[in-house]
């Protein structure tokens, strides 16, 4: 046995929580599991932010979950930007939820394109761990779309965690 985990997304002012999301498509609306082609992002503007968390729903016999790493693979189109709050040093603690916006995000770290060191905290710390069910800090992400963008770019967002038996 091992832990059972999922990714949840938070939308609207409530926020409304969508548990176990099936995609992380960015678009011009603040909603989970969107069809990207239905909500295109105009060049020169930003996607709505994504606010997501990693959740452990069952430890399954493991004693702890730790070392969260988030990055993307694939190639950004044109001069698009991919910003986040995830960072491997000077981590400022857990982000406090604010309604996702399509204005420029206040989080301006560049999302890594290869597996980084630990870059998303638990309980506000990169060295934090979950020893029961619970969630990570918020991961905030936003795509900035440049005029050179080609429609239909696909990236993969990777989440990695370590289980302590």
């Amino acid at each position: 046995m091992a832990a059972t985990v999922r990714i949840n997304e938070y939308n609207g002012a409530g926020p409304t929580t969508t548990n176990g999301i099936s995609n992380s498509n960015f678009g011009s609306t603040d909603a989970a599991n969107i069809t990207a082609s239905s909500f295109p992002i105009t060049s020169g503007t930003n996607s709505f932010e994504k606010w997501q968390k990693f959740e452990v729903t069952a430890l399954g016999g493991s004693s702890a979950i730790k070392d969260l790493k988030v990055w993307y693979t694939g190639t950004l189109s044109g001069s698009d930007t991919f910003k986040t709050n995830a960072r491997t040093s000077s981590y400022p603690g857990a982000a406090s939820f604010t309604t996702p916006t399509a204005s420029a995000s206040t989080y301006t770290q560049t999302m890594p394109s290869a597996a980084p060191a630990v870059n998303l905290g638990i309980a506000g710390s990169l060295t934090g761990s979950l020893t029961g069910t619970g969630t990570s800090d918020y991961l905030v992400m936003q795509i900035g779309v440049n005029s050179g963008t080609v429609a239909g770019t696909t990236l993969t967002i990777n989440w990695r965690y370590t289980e302590v038996a």
């Binding site: 059972t4 176990g20 099936s22 989970a32 069952a58 493991s62 965690y161």
Partner: protein
């Protein structure tokens, strides 16, 4: 992923409605899982996901690669 039957919907126990039939105001602060909407995260965790057929606590709820995901995470733990 299994398709929801939209012609004759059976609400899961504890669910208060379906996300695609509710306004954003009605969903404010609620918890959505597989299209069903719950009042609390605890209610949602106790309910079988109407799309996957699994409880959120079941390892199979992680998707078809659930065994590989768990093994890779365990392997990283044992390396330390």
């Amino acid at each position: 992923m299994a398709q929801k039957d939209t012609s004759e919907r059976q609400l899961p126990e504890l669910a208060i409605g379906w996300a695609d039939e509710m306004t954003d105001e009605e969903k404010f602060g609620k918890f959505i899982s597989g299209g069903a909407v719950y009042d609390t995260q605890e209610d949602e965790l106790q309910s079988v996901n109407p799309e996957t057929g699994f409880l959120p606590t079941d390892p199979q709820s992680m998707g078809e690669n659930w065994e590989a995901i768990q093994q890779a995470a365990l392997d990283r733990g044992s390396e330390e």
